[in-house]
């Protein structure tokens, strides 16, 4: 384990790898004031700082849309790739194949994922590639001025009064069904929960799919919208209190027996889930699927860690790759010797 320093947020503090929180910032956001996406960027900065993530190991990936602009606004000293619409999963997959030591943080939107990118989303989840895949979900296309996206709820309205008459895609249910090994839903306005979820995602190895409700203040924050701040606040249905304890920190929490689920994550960090009304174990796939259905039928949305399978083999493991990044293997390890070519030629005579 790395040397433990007391992680501390706030100005002037440095984290366990000696970086100030400032060093996790990006360029100034160009998104609208009050946009949920900015709050998510702040949480990403905070989580990476607190976890002591090395910025030069991070690759930020995105597709197209308001959400996909946001990687420029955090972790400015990390590499980033703002790719094409709906195809970030493939770019992220390629990057991770090239260098398995990278930490991939992907940011997508509900249109980028649920519409144009649904195909790549589906196959990313199936592969359980190590990547954090965040959907900044506002139920509409912001950058093209407010059209419905596939996560818009039935009956939700546009500013113009147009009613959405198609059912939404539940990206969490889909991700669980398809094989993602870490699935969470949160709300950009819930700092504590989102921080815990992000840190847990950084501790996970495999696809961590985070659907984060992130209201669009300009096009989808009105009465009649089910993705507005007001609606989100009143319909948020947390599955429990989340407490994240990183592997490098002393555990000094004390829970009453039977009230808490303890989930050990890949890097040794622990997530504590203190139950609220009902007992909920995020390692139970059936329970996860049913809680999504139940809350939806009640008109609320379950938030928190919905499903986790900490030991599921990830895609890179399945490919049996050498430990070093493929990208930097020297010539003598990637070009077979002359004798190999000669043997192949002999075989063709």
């Amino acid at each position: 384990m790395a040397t433990v320093q007391t992680p501390a947020a706030g100005k002037g503090k440095i984290n366990r790898i000696g970086l100030a929180s400032q060093e996790y910032r990006g360029t100034k956001t160009t998104l609208c004031a009050g946009c949920g996406h900015n709050a998510i960027s702040e949480r990403i900065i905070h989580a990476c700082f607190e976890m002591g993530i090395e910025p030069d190991r991070v690759v930020k990936l995105s597709g197209i849309g308001c959400s996909s602009k946001s990687p420029a606004y955090f972790l400015g000293s990390s590499h980033g790739f703002n790719a094409v619409h709906g195809r970030m999963p493939s770019v992220g997959t390629g990057a991770m194949l090239a260098n398995r030591r990278l930490i991939a943080v992907g940011v997508s939107g509900d249109g980028d994922t649920g519409a144009i990118g649904i195909g790549q989303f589906v196959h990313l989840m199936r592969r359980n590639l190590p990547i954090i895949y965040i959907i900044e979900d506002n139920g509409c296309y912001g950058l093209t001025k407010g059209q419905f996206s596939p996560t818009a709820d039935l009956g939700s309205t546009l500013k113009t009064g147009v009613v959405n008459d198609l059912p939404p895609i539940d990206t969490c249910a889909l991700a669980i069904e398809l094989g993602a090994s870490f699935v969470a839903r949160s709300f950009s306005g819930d700092k504590k929960q989102l921080s815990a979820v992000l840190k847990a995602a950084l501790s996970h190895r495999g696809t961590a799919m985070l659907d984060v409700l992130s209201p669009c203040v300009t096009f989808n924050d009105h009465e009649g919208s089910t993705k507005s701040y007001a609606y989100a606040k009143s319909h948020d249905d947390p599955l429990g209190e989340l407490d994240f304890v990183p592997y490098f920190e002393e555990i000094d929490v004390d829970y009453e027996p039977g009230t808490t689920h303890e989930v050990e994550l890949h890097d040794g960090s622990t997530l504590y889930l203190t139950k609220l009304a009902e007992d909920y174990d995020p390692r139970n796939k059936l329970q996860a699927m049913s809680v999504l259905q139940e809350t939806r039928s009640r008109g609320t949305f379950a938030t928190g860690l919905i499903y986790v399978e900490p030991t599921k083999p990830d895609f890179l493991e399945m490919l049996n790759l050498v430990d070093e990044p493929l990208a930097s293997l020297p010539q003598d390890r990637v070009r077979p010797p002359e004798a190999v070519l000669e043997a192949i030629m002999n075989d063709l005579r």
Binding site: S90, H123, R335
Partner: protein
Amino acid sequence: MAPEVAVQEAPSQPTTRRIVNDFSIQVATVNGSGSQTANLVLLRSIFRMGIPVSGKNLFPSNIAGLPTWYTIRANRDGYIARKQDIDFLVAMNAQTAQEDVVSLKPGAAVVYDEPLNLATLRDDLTFYPVPFDKLVAGVCRDAKLRRLVRNMIYDGVLASLLRIDRAEMERALEKQLGRKPKAVALNREALDVGFAYAEQHFEKRDPYFVESMDATSGQVLIDGNAAAAIGAMMAGVTVVTWYPITPSSSLCETLIDYLRQHRIDKDSGKATFAVVQAEDEIAAIGMAIGAGWAGARSMTSTSGPGVSLMSEFAGLGYYAEVPAVIFDVQRVGPSTGLPTRTAQGDVLSTAFLSHGDTRQLMLFPSSVEECYSMAIEAFDLAERFQTPVFVMSDLDLGMNTWMSQPFRYPEKPLDRGKVLDAETLDRIGKFGRYRDVDGDGIPYRSVPGDPMPAYFCRGSGHNEWAQYSERPDDYRKNIDRLRSKLETARNWLPAPVVTINRKASIGVIAYGTTHWAVVESRDQLVNEEDVQTSYYRVCAYPFRDALTSFVERHDRVYVIEQNRDAQMLSLMKLDLAPELAGRLRSVLHYAGHPIDARTITDSILIQEGYRVEKTRPQPSHVPQSAGVGGE
């Protein structure tokens, strides 16, 4: 018992005319009947006798039950392009037999399945009826196997009629079936039965003979897809992402086999490569681009429909300056087109693949050896120029079997291009991802995971610091630098192969598989009408300046290609001065089968004002009813 004589129709007299090592054999079967083994054994045994050969498979987009033709051309002079006329037909397919026979030129020979009763169709051919069912019943009790073994009988018959060395044929059989001794034994018996039947029942009445030569010694037989796969492995490819599509699938499949054999780390038992079968071509190239950005040598392989899907990512690769290698094994379009037929129809669309002012680098291999060497070169070029590189093969090259000198081990070390290191950073001061530091249009790049300064890669407008920018001067500067990068590329790319004939006032230009028919056609032009030509074989796009001087030297220049729209000629027109562009003429072939020399020769002669003897219209090898299948 007196030998049953081949059906006796004129010219039925045993001929004294001998045509040695210069003929084509066509085997007409039903696909899915396992004829490929028999055909490859036939090809390899002639090859092993030292005679130049080529084998071309004309097959339907279907798994079983539709007509397929395999053509072997043996030619002592080394002409291995497709030949229009068939000299020796093996008619195994009832569906096409009549049409196949009707389309033969007089004097051809036909081995056929006896019940097809073909001998009454023509009186100017030599027929050899063989009771295949009866013969195979004696060889093989298992009805399921019979269908497969049946084809080996015609190999035996041909060995007898053409005088193919039986020992070579047996060796070829062993080579083909490898470690399956039971299958080898069964097939050898079928060979023997066919041979014995022909020896007993046929008197040789056709003029075609095989005689040993020494023109293939040391050479190998391989298809272009396998050759490209070997090249990719030798280029040190590390990330391979692909989606199955005819006719490119075998490229990645062969590559996977080779990588598993030769690229597993000995100490750890782990792979020094990653292969992913993607969900579609968009994801395949997306992964290749992602991997290229993160520093891997990445590739994908596809065909026309896949290239169309890859368009948006190809533009991203060009504009964000990300290396990747794309093999386009071209097939007939538009749309689904003819998935199992060959063409050079993606030239124009690939040159400009994607919207905006996009230009792509293309390489044009014309031989299996170039599939290998250009594969290696493509990876160097992609990293040197930080852009996608398209290797433009085609079905004829990719899926057919070609002779070749053995491939040479690469002498040059891998060229990883301008990757930023500490020393360079010191020299250039501040890192700007898209800054033209060296004046060649090629900027330095850092790679995720390395300790160099990072940058934000994007398909949106950017300045030389990789910052988002919509400023007109930033846009202009960047897009102009991209053009200057292509100007640098022009003279780095593989040089054209130019043969200047001082007596020639006309030139020919070709590329890819068209080359083989051009070689033969240029000789025909000299031999038949004393028409002298110079030859410029294009190996890459953008073109070198040598193109201009070649056109300047000649009054008329024929650009020969396998598409309807004269795509390469159109690209050349964009580069040449109007006066020179006016000298370009076209020879076009676009019927789905590989171009042949006669087509070129006749077209050039006609355009040059010679009278060309009207030959029979070229037979359509595909009946209207056939060729219906999936993709």
